[in-house]
Symmetry: C2
């Protein structure tokens, strides 16, 4: 019954010849908590995978069998209501660690918004490894703490900010921390913000509709705060004004 066969989530599945040691994402990820000489033990667990754009590689409610580490590309993390309403809780890019749940099932779904490369670890095996590398456990706690802070900031945005303030916050945050896709998080503001996600994704991230997102961006443009050479790229023209808007000052 070939027609019932589930299409494999994963397009390619390899153990790179020089697995973690040469990983470009390592400096940005929890993996850098492990010494160069111990890195092989981690590499033995890692499976590097390609994920096509649009592919869901974590399904909310599924048994949580793996941890993931994003090594390239971007994913959206989301929760759904039965009628299809969606809240995107965050975007994961290079270095982001996924699957930090105590529960036995995933609390959120994850879908690639652009072609991705991810590193997959068996949950129980990585857990076992963590016992030998408390430094990595410490890093995980740091990561979780930072995400918690970001989540609180997002709650403020979703609960109390206007549409204009939400878009301004989004652009500013993207500009500072995800300038052009690289999560180098240089603390300098980017001129150009590249948005790999659709307006629909942005809307579901900010608790708005696509129409409101589009209208608000258009208005920013008419106010000379930004330029929109094409839908995916935003040029920041008045960073100060945007930052001010983002923090709730009118």
């Amino acid at each position: 019954m070939t027609h019932l066969r589930v299409r494999p989530l994963i397009v390619e599945s390899v153990r790179p010849s020089e697995p973690c040691a040469a990983c470009e994402a390592r400096p940005f990820s929890v993996c850098n908590a492990i010494d160069q000489r111990d890195i092989e033990r981690l590499a033995a667990l890692a499976v590097s995978l390609s994920v096509d754009a649009g592919r869901t590689f974590i399904e909310e409610g599924d048994p949580a069998e793996h941890f993931f580490n994003v090594t390239a590309g971007t994913a959206k993390l989301f929760k759904l209501l039965p009628d299809g309403r969606r809240q995107i809780t965050g975007f994961a890019s290079m270095g982001t660690f996924l699957g930090l749940a105590v529960s036995s099932t995933y609390a959120f779904g994850a879908e690639a918004v652009e072609p991705m490369r991810i590193c997959r670890f068996s949950r129980p095996k990585l857990r076992a490894l963590l016992d030998d590398f408390p430094a990595m456990e410490k890093r995980l706690l740091e990561v979780a703490s930072n995400e918690l802070v970001a989540a609180q900031e997002q709650m403020l945005l979703l609960g109390r900010k206007t549409a204009r303030e939400r878009l301004a916050s989004f652009l500013v945050t993207r500009g500072v921390c995800a300038g052009n896709g690289a999560p180098a998080c240089g603390h300098r503001a980017a001129e150009k913000v590249t948005l790999p996600m659709t307006r629909s994704d942005i809307a579901d991230y900010l608790g708005l509709t696509i129409e409101t997102v589009s209208r608000t961006l258009t208005r920013f443009k008419s106010e000379r705060l930004i330029d929109i050479p094409n839908a995916a790229d935003i040029l920041i023209r008045d960073h100060a004004a945007l930052r001010s808007l983002a923090t709730g000052l009118h």
Copy 2:
């Protein structure tokens, strides 16, 4: 300016004779990760404090010098915008651990909504202790992971749920996990939900106004979903209907 504060935050400051060993909150907190025989080392760091209702004991932006563990009472955790808009990101009750931030300053404020008892730890000292007790570090990671899941659920609520759905979610969650103040989190539904916080707090938690909270509760009452003997107590009359509403089913 916290430095200019006249009245002391803390009303009473004691090291109880049997510090952590007999702590009622320990079974609910991260402290239970430490063995009975090692508990003294933790107790040596702990300072037990009383906090009056309405007192702010964590100020957003202040240097993060302490961790806290709630041993009795309830606090609201919040973030503010410059013009006074407030988002309550959560309520902390018995067993809740506070202060998990990597940053050197608190990312949120905390205020007692009813008389509280908290356990205070010096950040650097507890950090040092954690090196000797990886089990506690593990527990902290669990706690942070769980809070992350709760935060994502709250983002779904704030970004995508209607006022009715938000209130229903709030009542159901309170009924299951905070029945009558004890965070036993028994998985049975409570008949009565006691709300130590004001309507204003509920509104700021759910991203609504006090008027909408009040009206929605009144409507639930007229629909026989709940009873409101007094503003602080809510009787759940139709738990199934509320749960259904909370998950977005109309």
